[in-house]
Symmetry: C2
């Protein structure tokens, strides 16, 4: 890799409604220190990338509501590198917008695109994977994604089917959306499926060409907009389809590779996935401030530093914030999105 | 009954540790509005008695820590009628102390003794029972207690065994402590058992004589103490045994009657008994501020007016206060006392 030419785009526009009331529209998931590490998820993401990408080549694209919060969490980034999306779209418009900014900085750039709110351990391994992906993109002019070796038939992740070979770099056959349980089990048995990490690597020029070819609606809306004219950008952004980069480009492009990510990874997409990464007591309870009696398998997250006691309860998610208290059985955490929907109506 | 001669003693020294964290040593059960009626339990108790006992003949005996709180809750009572116990004893010393104060006001008084923290509905019926009990005590010089017709084999109450007759006034055979389940079932089947309400009626002179005869240790400690000399009172009180009036007197006296209480009553001794008296939704959830999804049989008490959501959980007791949060399975509420004990150690 060529450090001079390497850029990164951190996507930080999500609201993480599955984590209500801990994560809210005003203070979404990426700004929280979910695992009690002392740093927010977005700050971890920046630090992880900053080991091999210069701070002035790291862009953060977020909702316009969160621009100030991003600057607070990552003061190292030049102000102009924090870009507020005028409106909520999916990943494809966001990534194309980033590409246009980078195009103005270096016409020959390579780009790493990463979500702000994932958990990655083993950062050395992560760095090696990224380097391999950058080299692959440079050599083959391909779109590269990092795939995670699945450890269980998780139905909460998308999967990537690849052609078996002996290399760490595989050719992608197809992307598969979140499967049902039996399909996920079949994927694991087949052995040529990775989890889709949502981390992408490519040459910036290839991305801009790829969008032009496969998603002309985005190209039409944003390719000629003056990036300093917020009103024009807003109009262009509104005209973009709400579409993911997986669906818009990766599934359609011809040259798509996946590099095996051998680092520990979680999208922290559910409380269940957060729970997996927390330290637990002998009875499987996680939560630093709580006292557990005859209780097991519980997750307690408390923003108020309250005295919390759980007695004779199992497998609960307990989230206490200054404004709200959620007590939800672990098996029902997919209901949290509906709860949030009901809150915003009432 | 003769209103002029009728006095009442409200016993308000308990701390209700089974209701942690809602009820604490600083702010115990009797000062809470448990059922959301707009009045504290002690205020309800005063109002109920004040219908037929003049305010200046109602005494409150409480721990010295709570004297000011009592005065706040019941400003109608003359200040000197609120008596602070120097130390924590059981009901017998408290009742004897009340008797000595009343002796100084009227040597011919009749007395109603009632706990501050019970729930009583149907106050007209309550009044009729009290009047019958006062007349009985006057006519027979007996110690009278109100018994409640048991509606279920509750193991949380003491029982009173009586001689069957056709009157509302029965002769007590014996007091029975909290039974196990099968014993309680046998009591119900036998048909001559009431729950012990802990409400007593007698002539003040009989009570003083009864204590002198059956619990000379209390008489020795308190009979000659100058009630205005707090240090002497403290010394006398410390010398008293920690003993209930049931055990000290009622089980030993010869003339003991029980009047059938046909009003609705609960000692609100557990969250389960509080829950029974709260309004519930179609799924048996009680708690005004909470939102319940796929949840049933839960009790939520919230002092913070927080947004509380329960999702897919059953039979929980959830108590949220400014300082603490308790989540306890209903079947385990007897553990709460141990939890409080652990808290006070830590």
């Amino acid at each position: 890799m060529n450090r001079e030419k390497t850029f990164a785009v951190i996507m930080a526009g999500g609201i993480g409604s599955r984590f209500w009331p801990f994560s809210t529209e005003e203070n979404p998931k990426q700004f929280h220190d979910f695992l009690g590490t002392g740093k927010s998820l977005i700050r971890h993401t920046f630090d992880r990338l900053n080991r091999f990408v210069d701070a002035d080549k790291i862009l953060v694209i977020t909702n316009k509501l969160y621009v100030d919060q991003v600057k607070e969490h990552i003061p190292q980034i030049p102000e102009e590198n924090v870009i507020g999306e005028p409106t909520r779209r999916n990943t494809a418009p966001c990534i194309y917008l980033g590409a246009r900014f980078i195009e103005g900085m270096d016409s020959d750039a390579q780009v790493i695109v990463a979500p702000a709110d994932h958990l990655i351990l083993e950062e050395d391994k992560f760095q090696s994977c990224i380097q391999l992906a950058l080299d692959t993109a440079a050599n083959e002019n391909s779109f590269v994604t990092l795939g995670i070796e699945p450890s269980r038939p998780d139905t909460g992740y998308g999967y990537i089917e690849f052609e078996q070979n002996d290399s760490e770099v595989k050719k992608v056959i197809q992307f598969r959306e979140k499967p049902d349980r039996s399909t996920a089990e079949a994927f694991l048995k087949a052995g040529n499926f990775y989890w889709n990490s949502g981390i992408f690597i490519w040459n910036n020029r290839d991305l801009i060409d790829g969008i032009a070819r496969h998603v002309s609606s985005i190209q039409n809306a944003l390719s000629s907009v003056d990036l300093k004219d917020f009103e024009a950008l807003e109009a262009g952004y509104s005209a973009c389809p709400d579409i993911s980069i997986d669906y818009a480009l990766m599934e359609k492009a011809e040259k798509v590779n996946v590099v095996r990510g051998n680092f520990s990874w979680s999208d922290l997409g559910t409380w269940g996935s957060v729970y997996q990464h927390l330290e637990k007591d002998a009875f499987g309870n996680a939560g630093t401030t709580a006292e557990f009696g005859n209780s097991s398998g519980n997750l307690v997250v408390d923003e108020e530093n309250k005295k919390i006691v759980l007695e004779s309860v199992q497998d609960l998610i307990v989230i206490n914030t200054g404004k709200a208290l959620l007590i939800c059985h672990k098996d029902a955490e997919q209901e949290i999105k509906q709860i949030v929907a009901r809150q915003s109506k009432s």
